[in-house]
Subunit: 491 residues, 2 copies
């Protein structure tokens, strides 16, 4: 085709025509049209995603207020693929305007701007559930929330065009109420007892949160209670500053613009983790500018010098104060109770960092008993004995939140599968009767999607799951000197 | 622990303390902190993701203006993990304020509000690339864009706090320039020739877009050209209205509020696909209210009656006017040229719908030649001949855009793997020397993440990939009566 032909065709479409639809859209409209990105697709998955959003918010709220969580969930079937969910917690409650935004406006919350370990972190999930209720049933959700003195109830929907909450029928309660209760109806969802359903989600939540009491009333009326095995509220995680070992240039440059410090030296000492006078002396030898200058005057190139220097320096690992792992003893107790393995080994590794964010890995391995996933069971024709076929089970958690979906796209799976299991006497990992438990504890989990089902392959996280520091081939646990399956934790 | 203890602890944390950090954040801040959700993680993946955003925008822009696309890409290595990318197209160009928003403000664009088949659909990707350039190098991107009469150049960055573009150094060009050229530097990215790198991305783009000419200058100076094998701009896809067979209740209810029609009957006939007088007569027998009422007065319950009735009615499949598949002949030509298989079969299936969105599946299967992925090659000790080990390769496309990542979480993979391949004489699909090609053509692709790497398991899409309509076990292609591997397409 000649060039002039192409040109003449181009004239057929005017600029007005090409750009007449150029518009902005709200984040609520975006996630409504792309609800799959919130994990809201598939009947079983959608129901689990919704419950997950409510339960993580409740657990976070209770712990932040230093309350031992007690969460009651009731699921009622109203029709085919049509359910009513009630989630009640004993948390601190919320003032009405906070509750309205937390549940009715995407991208709001207390968790986004802080480097603090919480389950939720985006301010999207619970408002997404409100949107899904509205989309599938046309109905608002009902909220009751109170702090023990004052309590309020209202119905809530979202104006998706504006991404704003709409409160209806607000009234104040006369009787005492402490906590938050959400009642919502959903269609296009389904309750199953299977691997990725709400019951398995709650079972795993109980394993990783032994201090929480969770009750679940199933649609058939059955009442399932996960009691506490521990009566201590987990230590309150403190805010952790970005760590110099892996902080990004962009983050350092943004922080320099915002700091109240008047010198670069005090800025670094105040605003970074593990950066003291010794680090400062080292740094001043490595950069070509005066560290007494104002941070607001730092150029990108000077920040680059700092980051390059950081890579050559040694820093203490982040303190264990800010991160709150479940703890070896509690994981052991939980897994013994629920998996009843013949062999169990648990390790909470020391903290590390990626992109300036502190994190640590907790890992456990269980053989025998109820470990692994039973996928088939048949009776041997000759002996009459029943035989079972197992698959390895990888239980993934991020800040104690179970991850049930997208196993194949998750750093935990990639890390665990890349371990040379033969060195542990395990010939074929996939078909072993084994449960591997991994909990990523971090001030920021790098999820691959707003649905928060899988962790991105950040190299430092992968390394730490495999624990390659001591051995090129990766050590999930250190192998006992006799080379047998008796594993000893690596620390 | 006694209840009073829990209560007394709760008082330690005041309401002000609990909610002092309650804030909103912009969608740009959100995706900056969660860049993994845009596919911007991993050095190879990040570079492919960025190129993908630019190339899809260029192809869309050219086709919308009825121009045969010619895209020139140059990648230059500036340092370790540091590259400069230049992408130039021969498209219609953009007015400066449109260009600034398209490349510098998330959630803007021409594609979100229309039901029209385009590659991009979210208005996030290209602005995300600008953000990534800025985050990793501190530098804005450089843009030149013109319509052949007027051209402008400027540098552009994003104010992430406000999610607004910042234009710098704007000037008008005196010489003629038609198209758009973007120059941007990125760090923390890496060029590899492997399976998920930019070269493979372009190779697959060329397979699915035989009308595009693409040139790529690699960092080592090598020039790779993918010439056109076809000189026709693909038919212009028309806007397709929602289809009654699968439209959601929520969508119908929203449309009823917005329509200009004054009666429900005319609203349905005007605003839905394939809904005519016969459908109207059928519907009026199935609902309990007057179809002459105003659409703005339709209640949720009445919309529910309509949707229930739709499920009992039969509708013609969506017209093939709105969807533009690549076409059997062109796929065949492309695959023959690039895969050179011994056996090749291609089918473009008729359109179908999910959630009211029209879509159709194109599928191809190739054996032998360069089909499959070679994963190992060794020499037989006895015969001295070289032996190769292959794995099946699934080439996934969405509106002609290659999907290279997250294979395990994609409906195309799930659909293809769930086919009973033994019925085609393929004993072990995974280890066969076979290439399966699937292109999902749709007015809206249900991506699982804003990074657009995988398609959600929407049941209607899965069904159509397997083509279960004719056979419970799923028919990828219809099996020839003799039961041999000679497949005949199913239509």
């Amino acid at each position: 085709m000649a060039n002039s032909d192409i040109e003449s065709r181009a004239k057929d479409v005017s600029e007005e025509e090409l750009f007449k639809e150029f518009k902005e859209h709200s984040v609520a409209e975006f996630f409504k049209k792309n609800r799959q990105m919130l994990g809201l697709y598939g009947k079983v998955r959608s129901l689990t995603t919704i419950l997950h959003e409510y339960v993580t918010n409740s657990l976070d709220a209770c712990e932040e207020a230093r309350i031992l969580p007690e969460i009651n969930i009731k699921l009622e079937q109203l029709g085919e693929d049509h359910y009513k969910m009630v989630v009640r917690d004993n948390g601190p409650g919320m003032p009405e305007e906070i509750a309205a935004k937390a549940l009715g406006k995407l991208l709001t919350g207390t968790k986004f701007h802080r480097l603090i370990q919480t389950r939720g972190q985006q301010g999207i999930g619970a408002a997404g559930a409100t949107m899904f209720a509205q989309m599938t049933t046309g109905k608002p959700i009902a909220v009751i929330t109170g702090n023990g003195k004052k309590a309020v109830q209202f119905r809530l929907s979202i104006d998706t065009i504006k991404n704003e909450p709409k409160i209806m029928d607000l009234s104040y309660l006369t009787k005492e109420f402490k906590g938050t209760q959400i009642t919502a109806e959903f269609k296009d969802v389904s309750y199953r007892k299977g691997e990725q359903g709400v019951l398995e989600y709650l079972r795993r939540t109980a394993i990783a949160n032994p201090h929480a009491k969770i009750s679940f009333q199933a649609p058939d009326g059955e009442m399932i209670i996960f009691p506490r095995t521990n009566t201590e509220v987990p230590k309150k995680p403190s805010e952790i500053k970005p760590h110099p070992a892996t902080i990004t240039l962009d983050e350092l440059s943004n922080m320099a613009k915002k700091t109240s410090a008047t010198k670069v030296s005090t800025f670094l000492k105040n605003d970074l983790e593990r950066f003291g006078d010794m680090s400062l002396r080292q740094l001043s030898d490595l950069v070509k500018f005066d560290l007494n200058k104002s941070p607001s005057k730092l150029t990108w190139e000077e920040c680059e010098q700092i980051i390059k220097a950081f890579k050559q320096m040694k820093f203490t690992a982040p303190s264990t104060e800010g991160l709150v792992p479940i703890g070896e003893e509690r994981i052991e107790k939980s897994l013994k109770k629920i998996v009843q393995p013949e062999f169990l080994k648990v390790v909470t590794r020391p903290p590390s960092t990626y992109s300036g964010y502190s994190f640590q890995i907790e890992a456990a391995i269980a053989f025998g008993g109820n470990a692994g996933k039973e996928i088939e069971s048949f009776v041997d024709e000759k002996t009459g004995e029943s035989q079972k076929v197992f698959r390895a089970e990888i239980m993934r958690f991020a800040n104690r939140v179970p991850l049930l979906f997208d196993e194949g796209g998750c750093a935990i799976t990639h890390g665990v599968k890349s371990i040379d299991w033969k060195r542990y006497g395990i010939k074929d990992f996939e078909s072993s009767q084994i449960t591997v438990f991994v909990n990523l504890v971090s001030v920021h989990i790098p999820y691959t999607s707003a649905g928060k089902t899988a962790i991105a392959d950040e190299p430092e996280i992968l390394e730490e799951i495999r624990d390659r520091k001591k051995n090129e081939k990766g050590n999930f646990f250190e192998i006992h000197s006799r080379g047998c399956i008796c594993l000893v934790p690596n620390n």
